[in-house]
Symmetry: C2
């Protein structure tokens, strides 16, 4: 059996990133996007994220400006919300919320005959601060965002589009990548609440660490 | 662009599992373990889980018996806790907790010069009901569990060992697989809080759906 390596807890993340960087080798990733790619790999141990992450033009700079402005991060799952670093949020004067388990989302969904994921987008549209919309689960959330953008009723300042799965996930991400939105999207089936939170954290750490 | 497929929200999971099953094809997985394997793939869209999940002898039956007895599920992250289905928990009369953000874990860690993950294991050792210990992040939690088992101070009834990462993760899982514990472990670097929660949910759904 391989021996346990003695690494101080504080050094584990640095050491992990060294290993990821060395295994990425010669794969071409822009310097700006690389911390985000590496954080997704750090969260999943899945090197597919070196290939499937797609960034709109100047996505990282755009997201950092929004974070600097004290935005609201809206997530589509409580799990993604749980994964977002609260210390970094506080340092930036940002706030993160998830409407999915809120009674108002359930009520709105019932009244309008829409999914709770779509109702959450309606609720986010009423937020007055800049919004980063983070999707780790529901392709219907991306579809709802796309519909809002198309009819001009809501344009989130940034979309982190990481639903995972086998039904409508690929297509919902294509909708966002073909829109005018600022985005980071994991092309294909992969993603998840953990990856969505990792992208948020990766962006915030660029400003707070 | 691929058209969005019209699938009723209630049918998405069933349809996803059909796709996963068909893509798994001829890969040999025992009928007992297959729902767990499929749920991990459903959560990650990563078919590596068809190969890396390791089960101790009669692991699934063992876990189901523990769940039936009204156990306590202890997680090493609030994110895994957030991902565990609360309706299924309630139906089974089980409860899930995470000590990581509790002041008592921080205090114990400081007093004893151990990580909070290890302190959480100490706190779990004081639980009087059967315990399923769920690790989605910290290899040190698995190492602490191993040390307790070795010196006889705590034997969790079941371990779901899914830490993810690059430093001591592989080794910590080997410790558990070479112990007397009842376990489900994702061999290698992969895992995560989402996968850990998926395994819990997969087991609970076998009894509640």
């Amino acid at each position: 059996m391989t021996e346990l390596e003695f690494v101080l807890p504080a050094d584990i993340e640095r050491r992990s990133f060294e290993i990821i960087d060395s295994e990425l080798g010669e794969i071409e990733i822009s310097e700006k996007n690389k911390p985000i790619v590496m954080r997704c790999i750090h969260t999943t141990a899945d090197f597919d994220y070196a290939y499937n992450l797609c960034f709109s033009e100047n996505a990282v700079d755009c997201a950092l400006n929004i974070l600097r402005s004290g935005c609201v991060i809206v997530t589509d799952t409580n799990m993604a919300l749980a994964g977002i670093n609260k210390i970094a949020l506080k340092k930036l004067g940002c706030k993160a919320i998830c409407f999915m388990a809120e009674p108002e989302a359930a009520k709105l969904a019932e009244n309008r005959g829409i999914t709770r994921a779509a109702a959450s987008v309606e609720l986010a549209a009423q937020i007055e601060k800049p919004v980063i919309y983070v999707v780790g689960n529901a392709p219907t959330a991306l579809v709802a965002l796309y519909d809002h953008m198309k009819n001009g009723s809501f344009m989130p300042d940034f979309i982190i589009g990481m639903p995972v799965g086998f039904v409508n996930v690929v297509q919902s991400k294509e909708l966002i990548m073909n829109s005018n939105a600022n985005y980071i999207v994991a092309k294909g089936r992969k993603g998840g609440s953990n990856v969505a939170a990792a992208v948020c954290n990766g962006l915030m750490y660029m400003l707070t660490r």
